[in-house]
Amino acid sequence: MSNLLVLLVVVPILAAIVSAVGGFRGRHDGWTIATGALLVTVGLSTAVASTVSRTGRISYAVGGYVPPYGIELVADSLSVLLCVVTATVSLGALLFMRRESHSNHFYTVYLLLIAGVFGLGITGDLFTMYVFFEITGLAAYVLVASGRGGAAIYAAFKYLLVGTIGATFYLFGVGYLYIVTGALNMADIAGRLGGMYGSPAVIAAALFIVVGLAVKIPLFPVHTWLPDAHSKAPPSASAVISALVTAAAAYALIRVLFDVFTIEFLTATPLIQTVLVTLAAGSVLLGTTVAARQQSVKRMLAYSTVSQFGLVVIGISIANTTALTGSVIHLAGHAVMKAGLFLAAGAIASSFGATTVDEYAGLGQRAPILSAAFMVLALAMVGIPPGVGFFGKWYIVLGAVQAEAWPVAVVIFLSTLLTLGYFVGLLERIYFGTPTVSKPTAATDGGTSPPQAESDVDTWKLAVVLVAAVGAVGLGFVSTPVAGFLEPVIEGMVR
Amino acid sequence: MALTTAVVAGLALFGLLFAVVAVVGVLRFPDLYTRAHAVSKSDTLGVGLVLAAAAVASGSVGVTLKILFLFAFMLVTSPIAAHVLARSASLDGVEAWQVDPEEREEREETEDDQ
């Protein structure tokens, strides 16, 4: 039964190869191959989810070599949640691209990115995690570079440099752990780290891994690559990268901190938690303040990713059950909401040529359904119930209050207010703003004069954005059972 | 036993001498062609001697055979490499260095003044 686990990674890779061969032969069937593969992965991830919910943690020894001598793939409720979210969000972004013309090679890289995120989700070996970080990273750099214009290339180049430095720091930390314990399997290392919590080498390993992952998530102050990378990439690429790649990095941070170093190490060395809290608080405050001042909507969404993941890492650093559950739920909920927001912004940009806050003026009349979906997603992101954003933040604040971390609770409250500020400002512009009459008809990217009525918006794009909006609210209702589903694993991590 | 180490050391040192000569050549010579000429000398002979030293040091026939093949390969490729380098440079218009007549007179005058 647990064979499905490795298929989660192998199926997208196989589809990537088929699409690449098609690409070399000049065929343009990449989209259909990718959709087929992702439909299979949706099925696979739900099947694995049902098995995990029935039988708990699955372990799969690749190649038949019993871990720790072979590589072990692991699926517990945490990784399954990431896999299900990855499958659905990536399928949604793919359907969004139905009308756009991309080469087969583009879909090959897209599929490799998804395979990388799946790999990160199910690996139980620290070095395999490095390899899948490189697969995800490489695919993300290329997707950003496939955006239009030279600025996208430069953004991708900066992202490549910083991302590779982060991955190499992570490898350096894994090297320290390997030298001190002689093991690479996560559970194996955790078992052997027992007595060495005080040794400088283990603390250095933790710091390097935290720095490496902080670059990948990203956290303040190493987040500067994100706004350009996410705003310059094509809409469905920035949706997938902003939603999934960041979520996978935060998932990896949880997995390493709690499954490898374990809670005993975190309580023994408070330095790690203080470093994490300061970086995360910095991300939250900086993310929200800078996002409020952004003119381009995509850059505003990119900065909001930085602040939302600051919240997630705050939940991780508080490290009690409620806060950690909140982080995981927010990590998954953010993926759906942020992907929906980026796709909506992409649809608005391609159909109405509107990319800046001012150009969104009066969009409510011209595109009622699209703006309604954008509003639902924005309010969910701010944390208005019943959106899933509310439940994630609520659990994190509750955890902060339980842990009497008052400054952290204040930071969260402040950031929610600021987020409310700039999103409501945008919504007010959409519904009550008056479109500047002498709107230059030269649409920015590709569209002739921007069509006034909504009927010209691509049906696929509209449908996907609507599903994302419904999903953001639907997930809100389902978040309490999801918290129950996660409870045993998180309880095990944090006790 | 001391004899082989002496032979090995001798061969290696002699090979090293060629390498040093090549470096001096690269530093002293004025233009690309003379430098390429200097380096290719060390490639063939200098490396050959060091390889011979390695063969003697290893003592086993198998290794010596491999080293002979390696030397033959080096003997073919490094002069060709120098040729390709020089040829593409000349086609690219890198002029060779000459002592033009006026400069020679100036130099003679400066020598008279000292």
Binding site: L138, G150, F157, Y178, I179 | -
Partner: protein
């Protein structure tokens, strides 16, 4: 301090190489940044393989009575990491080439100005 130098000098060299790699990463020229990235990575690789070394050890190729072997696992990890590093370098060089074709420069400051126009 002296004790570290005598028994762990290769680790110190690895850290120096990592520091030099990081330093070169701040260079203005994009291609030198990529060279710096490679140096930075090789510093970490040196760290791994040195850890696997064993005094008097022989290469991990099993032969009858082959004596104490060096630990083979770091070699496997670094083999993979080197080839991953080269793949990322090739993609980054493709980007540098494109940036030159669009903006005509490979200096970061000139590039930034050109992009802002």
């Amino acid at each position: 301090m002296i004790e570290t130098l005598t028994t762990r000098y290769t680790y110190v060299v690895a850290v120096i190489v990592i520091a030099i790699g990081l330093y070169v990463l701040f260079d203005r020229n994009l291609i030198k940044k990529i060279v710096g990235l490679n140096i930075f990575q090789t510093g970490v690789f040196l760290f791994f393989v040195t850890a696997g070394y064993r005094t008097g050890g022989t290469p991990p190729i099993a032969s009858a009575g082959g004596g104490p072997y060096v630990s083979p696992l770091p070699h496997v990890l670094i083999l993979t990491a080197i080839v991953v590093g080269v793949s990322v370098t090739a993609v980054s060089l493709g980007m540098v080439f494109l940036l030159y074709e669009t903006y005509g420069t490979v200096q970061e400051d000139e590039l930034r100005e050109a992009i802002h126009e």
